[in-house]
């Protein structure tokens, strides 16, 4: 590893760590309805919206009502996107590009898949943006859902934290108020400077038709562009990830420079990471928030090291294929696994993007995941299977991490004969049921869907590019990515078919709503409890020993569920390639 790679990774972690406290305490203020510097500008807007939304935005909600509001908001968003997509031919801006350019037919299954995908922050894309979506669809339907679904995720995260921090009463807050505040105080204000930084770096923002040009060699060229910046920043900040263009974050107009890549990756992780601090503040146990942050950061760093090592090692099959010629190395040359990567990011920027996006429930990779080395792509796969605990989806990542911590507390406390409590909340039989259900859902969704796809005729029919162990990985990756609401794909798998459009939509719905159900139910139970004092008799949950135990627990749960799958996929491919 050269000093420059370490420098980029270190700078990323350092900048992120520096942001955690200010951003995290700001989030705590926003959702505790305390004064912030933005109040003068946005309180009047909030008042108008709350008044129009009506009495539902005023009453305190217990977990059932909060969950119902969350689900209905998601379903309504999906229905809205579905109708916009189906009607895009008669809506504004379709004629600007026309049917010849937007050549992918908007079938019912594609529209449904895309609608659910964007309403669940998955933003899985079975289509290529520049050949399918009108500007109206891209912005009014898709970019706006990036904001709304992201805000709903943040609201769920905050409600969960309230459940743990509240001393009896059972109230988790008000969903509508939380979504409105998440938008007005957090996502919109951050996205304005964020989008402008990206425009400065070269991301287009216009409403012109695709530009006709003549290349230097005299050939006609049609350059797809449009209102990219309005989608680009929020797709990362809201941990959505659906790109304007087919190749998403690898496209020069979505991610023009190494600096834009750095900013976009930071946008993915900054709010989920800051929520750790928010958690510490709202529970008045800052050391516990920091513990979760450092556990996430350690796992994140291990991911960086793993992907960097795997990608820098290159592809031995190519070396064999071109013998007796050799590849250039040393000053000025680019070595490693360069297929599917972009020169401006190199191995380092690509590694950062692979790890941040696969951990961050965001599908906006800066390279083609299919062409990553078996273990580099395997790390991305594994990150999603871990439940995206580092730093995870906006709001949902922290929930996954805390659920893992609760399991660790339960097992750890029983090992030393203590009553299991976390931050004064007792973990009894009822709580443990919800925790166990939460942990098992991933295996119960991903594995049967993968098995179904492999055994049916329609599943392997999608393997138009790659086969063998890589083919199995592609299919399992598709369902894992959908369930994790991540959205990145091994795009060599052709998934714009009725079979994949419907089955991945099932995985997305399960990952968003089925997973939130036990989490919010658990938060509701904690919210009913009176918090007990943390005594010397409780298992200490903010020290190094607990951190190690927590990491072991995260790896154990994912390992028990998915180790056979990882062995049959990425590990087998690695062994075949290298030995």
């Amino acid at each position: 590893m050269s000093w420059t790679s370490v420098a980029e990774y270190l700078l990323f972690v350092a900048v992120l760590t520096a942001m955690v406290r200010p951003l995290g305490s700001y989030l705590a203020k926003v959702f505790a309805y305390e004064a912030t510097f933005l109040d003068r500008a946005v309180v009047p807007v909030e008042r108008v919206i709350v008044r129009l939304v009506g009495p539902a935005a005023e009453r305190p909600m217990k977990w059932r009502e909060y969950f119902f509001a969350f689900v209905s908001f998601g379903i309504a968003g999906a229905a809205f996107v579905f109708f916009i997509l189906k009607l895009q031919e008669v809506l504004p801006f379709y004629g600007l590009l026309g049917k010849d350019v937007l050549s992918t037919p908007m079938t019912d299954d594609l529209a449904l898949n895309t609608a659910i995908s964007f309403a669940t922050t998955t933003t899985w894309q079975a289509y290529g943006g520049e050949t399918t979506m009108s500007y109206f669809s891209q912005i009014v339907a898709l970019a706006s859902q990036n904001f709304l679904a992201g805000a709903a995720g943040l609201a769920i995260g905050i409600a969960f934290i309230r459940g743990i921090s509240i001393d009896g009463g059972g109230v988790l807050g008000n969903f509508w108020r939380d979504v409105i505040r998440a938008l007005l105080w957090v996502l919109l204000p951050l996205s304005i400077p964020g989008a402008l930084i990206l425009v400065w770096q070269g991301v287009p923002m216009n409403l012109h038709a695709y530009t006709a040009a003549t290349t230097l060699q005299g050939a006609p060229e049609l350059i797809a562009q449009g209102p990219v910046a309005a989608l680009e920043f929020i797709k990362n900040l809201g941990t959505n990830g659906g790109g304007f263009f087919n190749v998403n974050g690898a496209h020069p107009f979505e991610n023009p420079t190494a600096l834009s890549n750095f900013v976009e990756m930071l946008a993915i992780v900054m709010l989920p990471a800051a929520l750790c601090y928010t958690f510490g503040t709202m529970t008045r146990q800052p050391s516990h928030g920091w513990l979760l942050y450092w556990v996430m950061t350690l796992l994140f760093t291990l991911g960086l090291a793993g992907v960097h090592w795997a990608e820098a090692a290159g592809n031995p099959a190519l070396v064999r294929a071109v013998a007796p010629h050799t590849f250039a190395a040393g000053e000025g040359a680019w070595t490693g696994n360069t297929e599917g990567k972009e020169v401006r990011f190199g191995t380092i920027g690509t590694t950062l993007a692979v790890v941040a996006t696969s951990n961050g429930a965001t599908g906006s990779t800066a390279a083609m995941p299919d062409s990553l080395s078996p273990l580099g792509g395997g790390v991305a796969f594994f990150n999603m299977l871990l439940g995206e605990v580092t730093y995870g989806g906006l709001g949902t990542g922290l929930i996954s991490m805390i659920l893992a911590a609760l399991l660790a507390v339960f097992i750890g406390a029983l090992m030393i004969g203590r009553g299991p409590t976390y931050l004064g909340n007792q973990i009894g039989v009822g709580e443990m049921k919800f925790i166990t259900i939460y942990m098992l859902i991933a295996g119960f969704v991903i594995l049967p869907l993968t098995a179904l796809a492999v055994m049916s005729a329609a599943g392997p029919a999608g393997l138009t590019t790659n086969g063998g162990p890589h083919g199995l990985t592609s299919i399992a990756f598709a369902y894992t990515s959908s369930f994790a609401n991540n959205g990145q794909s091994f795009a060599g798998l052709s998934t714009n078919s009725a079979f994949y459009n419907y089955t991945t939509a099932v995985a997305m719905l399960a990952g968003r709503f089925l997973l939130t159900l036990p989490a919010l139910a658990l938060a509701g139970r904690f919210a009913e409890q009176r918090r007990r004092a943390i005594t010397s008799g409780s298992l200490p949950t903010d020290g190094g020993l607990f951190a190690v135990f927590l990491i072991a627990m995260i790896l154990l749960v994912a390992g028990l569920n998915f180790l056979p799958l990882l062995c049959l996929g990425p590990v087998t491919e690695h062994l075949m390639l290298w030995f």
Binding site: T4, L52, V53, G54, A56, F73, T131, A141, A143, F147, L148, W176, V179, L183, A195, L196, G202, N206, L207, T211, A212, A213, T215, Q217, E221, L222, I223, A229, N246, V247, F253, P256, N261, F262, N315, A317, L318, R320, A321, V322, H325, T326, G332, A333, W334, G336, T338, E339, G340, K341, V343, R344, F345, I348, D370, T465, N466, G468, H470, F490
Partner: protein
């Protein structure tokens, strides 16, 4: 119940209006005011005609020009209206076959079987539109371009070296060269 229905519909309409109409128009206005060139796609104009975008690679196969990376877009390479990578797995035999064929073609076109092959010149980019290649990939082509244009190789080499883009802050990204920028400079030479 009815208050819940009202909340769903009203919040969806208002917040979509805010995030899907007001916000994009605000960004459009600010972007066009402060960064008009980038906002319009960093277009290159020569003699009143649009010759491309500085951020989007073009297909170069004439010996008079520097060549970029292989592109997997369809139906033609460097189709800027339909970005795509190959999506070939590293273990896919097709990838090794394609790379070997590109290597052979490159060696033949440059008449230089001793020089090591720049890897990025024989592997496809992620977008199919990568505007850059590594410094080594440009230097590999200097003699061929100079011969085709009948100019001194040292002048061509100097031109390439002028166009090397350094990493931001010294370490963000790689040393690289924009192929279109160098080819434009060659034509103006």
């Amino acid at each position: 119940m009815s208050s819940s229905v009202r909340a769903v519909i009203v919040s969806l309409v208002l917040l979509t209006g805010l995030a899907g109409i007001v916000y994009p128009l605000l960004i459009l206005g600010l972007a066009q005011a402060f960064f008009p060139a980038q906002a319009d796609g960093s277009l290159v104009r020569r003699d009143g005609r649009i010759r491309g975008s500085m951020l989007i690679g073009q297909q170069f196969d004439s010996p008079r020009y520097f060549w970029g990376r292989p592109s997997a877009t369809t139906p033609t390479a460097y189709n800027a209206a339909a970005s795509s990578g190959t999506n070939l797995a590293p273990s896919n035999p097709q990838l090794a076959k394609d790379v070997a064929a590109r290597c052979a073609a490159l060696v033949k076109a440059h008449g230089n079987s001793a020089a090591p092959i720049p890897l990025d010149l024989v592997t496809a980019s992620g977008s199919g539109l990568d505007p850059h290649v590594s410094v080594a990939a440009m230097l590999y082509q200097v003699d061929r371009v100079a011969a085709a244009r009948g100019i001194d190789p040292s002048a061509v080499r100097a031109l390439v070296e002028q166009h090397i883009e350094s990493p931001a802050l010294g370490f963000l990204g790689e040393h690289r060269v924009n192929v279109l920028a160098v080819n434009l400079a060659l034509d103006a030479h």
